[in-house]
């Protein structure tokens, strides 16, 4: 098992959305945590397929169990920005030539993001990947994968550190609707995404344990892999 302490001033974990309000999940999603781990390990997960404008995810990537611990509840922020986009339909299509097929329109949107991320990403059941993550964190591998980020390439972590002794944290567990006392704050976190076919994207509802603990509950572990 490997525990990584992640501290970041800002982060954004976009749900699939369009329009003038760009939401973020309320915490690191399992799919984003998995992407971060592979980035640290220097494992390329992106795949370009000319049939799809979106970047796809490779098959055959390592499977691992991930648990997410909350040391501090992140703040939620939003700013109003002029965002470059492709207009829907045939609007302004003539501008595509002028922008050489880059986004050819500007529209005002409200972008949300999180602040003060202080979290644990814990992994188990894949020793090989854990070793690669350790190598990556110590800077022992030559990287050609940019720098690790949290959902938006501008949002870098301040700290990515292996910890051997956990501080008390609230752990995300799946919401079981047979439970009594389901809290008001339930987060829908993506586990696995599929940009080619949204129907194969997997997300579930999670809640945090009520009392901070140094022990990771068994039902906090979620398997992720492609």
């Amino acid at each position: 098992m490997l525990n990584i302490h992640v501290v970041a001033p800002f982060a954004a974990f976009r749900t699939f959305s369009t329009g003038s309000y760009r939401p973020t999940a309320g915490f690191i999603t399992y799919s984003a945590a998995y992407g971060l781990l592979l980035n640290i390990a220097g494992i390329e997960m992106r795949q370009q397929d000319p049939k799809y404008p979106a970047t796809l995810i490779k098959k055959g990537l390592p499977t691992v169990k991930i648990a997410l611990g909350v040391l501090e509840t992140p703040g939620r922020q939003s700013i109003y920005q002029q965002l470059h986009n492709y207009p829907v339909g045939s609007t302004n299509k003539e501008n595509l030539v002028r922008t050489k097929y880059n986004k050819n329109n500007i529209a005002p949107v409200r972008r949300t993001f999180l602040s003060n991320i202080n979290a644990y990403i814990c992994v188990k059941d894949n020793l090989e990947l854990e070793q690669q993550i350790l190598e990556g964190l110590s800077g022992n591998i030559t990287r050609s994968y940019g720098l690790p980020f949290l959902g938006d390439s501008n949002f870098l972590p301040d700290r990515l550190e292996v910890v051997y002794e956990l501080q008390p944290a609230k752990w995300f567990i799946k919401v079981n609707y047979e439970m009594r006392n389901i809290p008001q704050q339930v987060e829908r976190l993506t586990i696995k995404i599929d940009r080619a076919n949204m129907a194969y994207t997997r997300a579930e509802n999670f809640m945090t344990t009520e009392v901070p603990s140094t022990t990771i509950p068994e039902d906090a572990w979620v398997e992720v892999g492609y």
Partner: protein, 315 residues
């Protein structure tokens, strides 16, 4: 090797980065930290100004802003190419094209630039340069300035009356981090060197600079050259006290306590000028690189980075 840095500007009046106007009030954008609101400037606004600065310093840039349009507008002079254009190289691009458009684009490139360029063309490229929000040091104190825009007569008249404006203003310094994975920069050591120097001279960041000049260049800077994947300290760690003294307690204390390796750190500007003699001496014994001027620090780093990038990998 990775480079992490935090820049802080001088304290000055700012109404740079505006959001949704409320009636005649021009609102600056803020985030909430603890009990207060703090003005922010987006990384996108910073990158836009940096692109202009790179062009002024003579680097080839693909994208430019067109100022005389009905709405905000940019123009590309060519299809994206990280080998030909510095802004494409550092800031990347994304073209979301379906199959037909993809074929057309590749055909266009083939016709205009030949087979080799079409082969190396990609529809997406990540930004090598990573920046983050610039956040005000001082909380927003609900300061506004009341100004008036005159009624314009003649053929250029665009309103029936003169306009009264409430402009929100924050008197503050801003701090922002930026980072580079130097292995990504290896194809263009000369451009990378210019990029670092450009950060030392950056200005005209975000929308309101045409009316009120805001100098975004560094008053102080903390840089770390390391193999680590994260900075390892709070990248918004600058503090400014009542007398406008700059400090970065976590890094300075961390180096003193041997929690952070002094030889990886470069400190510059007001931060160094404000150090007491004892701390300065202690940092020097820990091999910290100290510069009284940020632009000179950036020039020296640029030189060092150039040498690293032109040497074999891993040196």
């Amino acid at each position: 090797m990775n480079l992490f840095a935090t820049v802080i500007t001088h304290t000055q009046p700012s109404s740079n980065y505006r959001g949704e106007s409320a009636e005649n009030r021009t609102v600056i954008q803020k985030i909430t930290k603890g009990r207060y609101e703090y003005a922010v400037i987006s990384p996108e606004a910073f990158k836009n100004a940096l692109r202009d600065t790179l062009a002024i310093l003579g680097l080839p840039c693909n994208r430019k802003r067109i100022h005389d349009e009905e709405q905000l507008a940019v123009e590309f002079q060519d299809y994206n190419d990280a080998e030909a254009y510095a802004d494409d190289f550092f800031m990347g691009w994304m073209i979301a094209a379906g199959k037909n458009d993809r074929n057309k684009i590749l055909e266009d490139i083939r016709k205009e630039h030949g087979e080799e360029r079409a082969k190396r063309f990609t529809f997406k490229r990540d930004s090598i340069l990573r920046t983050n929000l610039a956040v005000a040091i001082e909380p927003y104190r609900y300061d506004t300035i009341f100004t008036q825009s005159p009624k314009m007569l003649g053929p250029w008249s665009n309103a029936e009356n003169s306009q009264l404006l409430h402009r929100e203003v924050s008197y503050t310094a801003y701090q922002y981090p930026f980072a580079l994975n130097l292995e990504d920069c290896r194809p263009h050591p000369d451009w990378t060197s210019t990029l670092l120097q450009a950060i030392g001279q950056i200005t005209d960041v975000s929308g309101n600079h045409a009316r009120s000049y805001f100098d975004m260049s560094p008053a102080s800077i903390v840089m770390r050259l390391t193999r680590k994947l994260a900075a390892g300290y709070h990248t918004y760690g600058f503090k400014v006290d009542e007398s406008e003294k700059h400090t970065f307690p976590e890094v300075i204390q961390g180096i003193k306590n041997n929690d952070l390796p002094g030889e990886e750190f470069y400190l510059g500007g007001k931060l160094v000028n404000d150090l007491d003699a004892e701390t300065k001496k202690e940092l020097e014994t820990k091999n910290v690189h100290l510069y009284t001027n940020c632009q000179i620090l950036l020039e020296h780093i640029a030189e060092q980075v150039y040498q690293y990038l032109t040497s074999p990998k891993g040196e």
